[in-house]
Symmetry: C2
Subunit: 430 residues, 2 copies
C-alpha cells in the first residue's frame, strides 16, 4: 500500500489506518533500499537537487502561502523566521543533497575480521537501521536534508513536518519522489505525512513493527513529549548548556577570543556557551577584558560573588542560572578554585553537550578530556564548532545528547548499525 | 550516602528513598570509576576472584539455603536448576573475573583524528556509559559476571537479582566489595539491591537522573515488562528464532553437520535453530539424511507441505510454528524456491537474532550476508557460535536483539560510548 504523500489532509479520516499504511510501505521500501547500490542512491540525490533548482519558484510560492497562513494564524516572528525560505535557502537545500551524494556510502563497510580458535572468522558489517520517523517543526529544509541522509544511509523514512510548512513540504516531497523514481528506487522510501492531525504523531511513535527509530527535531517541549510517549527508541537533543573553562594555564589571547566567539557568534544555537568558568588565579586579568568585549556586544552578565567583586554592578547569578540554557544575550560567570571545581560544575550543571577548556597545561588538558562527561570535549577551541559539518560528517540529522548509540553530531554513521558476520567452512560448536 | 548492600530487606520500608540513595551513590562512584586507572580495576577483579575461591564453601552454603527455600516455596525444577551452584560454577565465576581482567581496557581508546579545514583536529574517545542497572533472575553467577564487566568498562552498577538467590548474591557481593576496597575504588561502584520488594525494580527503571541504561536478563515476560515500563534506555534480548538455510549450492556434508549442531547441541539456548529452510532443488537429498539424524536425537519435526511429501508422517507446520521459539526438541522445516524466498521467510518470521546459509556459491552467500537483517549473519557455520566468548569479546553481558547501540553479543565495548574530542589552538568559528 502506497498512499500518495500529496493526498489532501481532508481525505484522511482513519489516521491510524493511514499511518499503518505508511509504515507497511516504508518497511517494504526499507528492504529494497538496504540492497540498493551506491550509484542508484547518488543518482536519486542528484535528480532531487536538480528538481529543487528547477522548481525553485514554485517552492518559494508554496512557502509564501505557508508564511501568509502562519501570519494570519498569528504565529510568532521566531516561528515565521524559521518557516520562511529564500532563493538562497532553496539553493542550499539542493547543494546539501549534492554534498550528501558526494559522501562515502556507509552501508556495507566491513571490518574487524579475525579468526577465532574454532576456525570461524568474525567481523562486522555496517547496515541501515531500517525505517526512521522524523518529526520536526517549521523549517522546510529539514524535509530535503532528512530525506537525503536517510536515503544515503539506506533507510526508508517517514517525515512529519510542522503543519505550518505543509505546502512547501509537499512541493519538496514531489522533487524527492522524482529523484527516487528516476533512480528506480521505491517512491515510498521517503513519505511525507499528509495529514496535520496530531494523532498521526501518536501513531508514528508507537508503531514498533514498522519504525526502528524516531528523530524529533524542534523545541525542548516537543522533544520531551515525543521521548515520553514513544515506544520506539528516540535519538534526541535536549539542552545545550555549554561551558568554557579558562584555566590558570590559559593563553589570554586565546581565552578572550574563544570566550567571545563561543558566546557571541550566534546566540540561539545549542552549542553556544551559556556559562563561563574562570580559574581564580587569572580571573582578575581576564574578566575585565571580557567584560568590555561583552558590553560592546550587549551581553548581560550574571556572576558569582567572586565575579561580582571583580566586575561590580553586574547581576548575581542564582543556582537557577547555572542550569539555564539562555539562548539569548545573557552569560553566567563563575570563578572557580581550579580544574576539579570546574569539572564538578560542568558535570553537575551541564547538559553533557559541549565543553571546552582553554589552557596550555598538558596534564590539566588531558584530565579535562577524560573527566568531562559530555558529547564533545574540546581544548582551545570554541564550543561553536560542535556541528556535523565542522566535524567532517558532511551533514547532520541532529546533535544527540543521549549516550547510547549516537552521541553528539549524528551523520550518516549514526543512522546505521553494525551486524556481526561469521564466515565459516562447516564449523560446528563442540 | 552508601547503603550497605547486605542490609536486611526487613529494614527497608521506604523503597523509593532506599533506591534513590543507591542511585546517588552509584552516580558519585561512576565519576571515580570513569577516571580509575586500568591497574586499579584489574587489581579489584583479581582480589574478587581470590575472595570467591577462598569463600567457596560459604558461597555454596548460602546457595544451598536459597535452593532449600526455593524448593519449600514450590519453585519449578528449571528455576532450581538455574539457581543451584556447584564447586565448578563457583570456580568458573572466579575464572571469569580473571578473564575480564586480562581483556584490554576499552576506556580512553582514542582514534579517527583528522584535521578539519578550520584547523581543529577532531576524533573520538571511548568512555563509560555511567551507571548501569541490571535486573536478572535466578542465576547467581550473573552477580559476579555483571559486576566484573561493568567495573572493567568503567561503569558503576546496581544489581537486582532474583529474590530466590538473595543469600548467594549477598555472599558474592561481599567478595566484590572486598576487591573494590583493596584496590582503593569506591565500594558503591557495585551495589546489590538488598530488598526483594518488587517496587525496587520500578524505581530502578525510572530514576533517569541516576541510571543511564538498564540491562534485563531473564525470561521474555520479565524483559518485555521492563522494556514497557522503563523510562531509561534498555539493552535487551527478546526472541531467538534462528534459521539455517541449506542452499542448492550447499556442500551436503557441511549442511548435515551444521543443521544437526545448530538444533541439537543445546536445545534451550537463544542461538539454537528453530526453523530449517531447504532449497527445493536439494530437499529430496538432504531432508531424508537429516530426518534420520533428528529421529536418533528425539527431535520432533513439523513441516510445510513439500517437506511432508518428502518426510511422510511428520506433523504439519502452521503459520504459528514459523513464529515460535521452541527452546525444545522441536524443529519446523520449510522447503523454499530459492534464496529470495529464504531471505523473505527470515526477514518476515525471524527475530533478527542469528541466521546462517550453507552454500558454496559466492554470489548467493554475499547476498545473504547483506540482505538478512539479523544481528549475526553466517556462512557455513552453526548458529550456536553467536556468543560473546566465541566471537572473542571475552565475556558478554547478554545478546542484544535491538538495533540501536549494541547489536548481538554485548561485551565491554557495548557498555561504553564514544565522545567527540576537539583539539584546537585557539580556533574560533567564522
Amino acid at each position: 500500500m502506497n498512499v500518495p504523500a500529496d493526498r489532501n489532509a481532508g481525505d484522511i479520516t482513519d489516521v491510524a489506518g493511514y499511518m499503518h499504511g505508511l509504515g507497511r510501505a516504508a518497511r517494504e521500501a526499507s528492504r529494497a533500499l538496504a540492497r540498493a547500490d551506491t550509484n542508484a542512491k547518488n543518482r536519486a540525490l542528484a535528480v532531487m537537487a536538480a528538481a529543487i533548482r528547477r522548481d525553485a519558484a514554485a517552492l518559494l510560492q508554496a512557502n509564501a502561502e505557508d508564511v501568509a497562513a502562519a501570519r494570519a494564524a498569528g504565529l510568532d516572528d521566531a516561528m515565521i523566521d524559521r518557516l520562511a525560505m529564500t532563493a538562497k535557502s532553496v539553493e542550499s537545500m539542493a547543494a546539501g543533497l549534492e554534498q550528501i551524494a558526494a559522501l562515502p556510502d556507509p552501508v556495507g563497510e566491513m571490518g574487524g575480521f579475525a579468526y577465532r580458535p574454532s576456525g570461524i572468522q568474525v567481523g562486522r558489517m555496517r547496515v541501515p537501521l531500517g525505517v526512521i520517523g522524523i518529526i520536526y517543526e517549521a523549517r522546510p529544509n529539514v524535509t530535503a536534508d532528512a530525506a537525503g541522509l536517510c536515503l544515503k544511509s539506506g533507510n526508508a523514512c517517514i517525515l512529519r513536518g510542522g503543519s505550518e510548512a505543509i505546502r512547501a513540504n509537499r512541493a519538496i516531497a514531489a522533487c524527492v519522489r522524482e529523484g527516487l523514481r528516476e533512480a528506480g528506487l521505491p517512491e515510498s522510501a521517503v513519505q511525507v505525512v499528509a495529514t496535520t492531525d496530531r494523532a498521526a504523531v501518536g501513531e508514528l511513535i508507537t508503531m514498533k513493527q514498522y519504525v526502528d527509530v524516531i528523530v524529533p527535531r524542534g523545541g525542548k517541549s516537543l522533544v520531551e513529549r515525543i521521548d515520553r510517549e514513544a515506544r520506539i527508541p528516540v535519538i534526541k537533543h535536549l539542552d545545550g548548556i555549554c561551558h568554557v573553562f579558562i584555566d590558570e594555564g590559559a593563553d589570554m589571547d586565546k581565552a578572550v577570543r574563544i570566550a567571545d566567539n563561543a558566546k557571541t557568534q550566534r546566540l540561539g544555537t545549542c552549542n553556544t556557551m551559556e556559562t563561563l568558568l574562570v580559574h581564580t588565579a587569572v580571573a582578575k586579568f581576564v574578566l575585565p577584558l571580557l567584560a568590555k568585549v561583552y558590553a560592546d556586544k550587549g551581553i548581560e552578565l550574571r556572576g558569582c560573588e567572586r565575579t561580582r567583586a571583580l566586575l561590580p554592578g553586574i547581576k548575581a547569578a542564582t543556582e537557577e542560572d547555572w542550569r539555564t540554557e539562555y539562548l539569548a544575550a545573557i552569560l553566567s560567570i563563575r570563578v572557580v578554585e581550579g580544574l576539579d571545581a570546574a569539572i564538578d560544575h560542568i558535570n553537575t550543571y551541564g547538559s553533557q553537550h559541549t565543553d571546552s577548556i582553554v589552557t596550555e597545561d598538558y596534564t590539566r588538558a588531558r584530565r579535562f578530556l577524560r573527566e568531562v562527561d559530555s558529547s564533545s570535549v574540546m581544548i582551545n577551541a570554541s564550543t561553536r564548532f560542535a556541528d556535523g559539518f565542522e566535524y567532517g560528517l558532511g551533514a547532520e540529522i541532529g546533535i544527540s545528547t543521549d549516550k547510547l548509540h549516537a552521541r553528539g553530531p549524528v551523520g550518516l554513521e549514526g543512522l546505521t548499525t553494525l551486524k556481526w558476520i561469521v564466515l565459516g567452512d562447516g564449523q560446528v560448536r563442540g
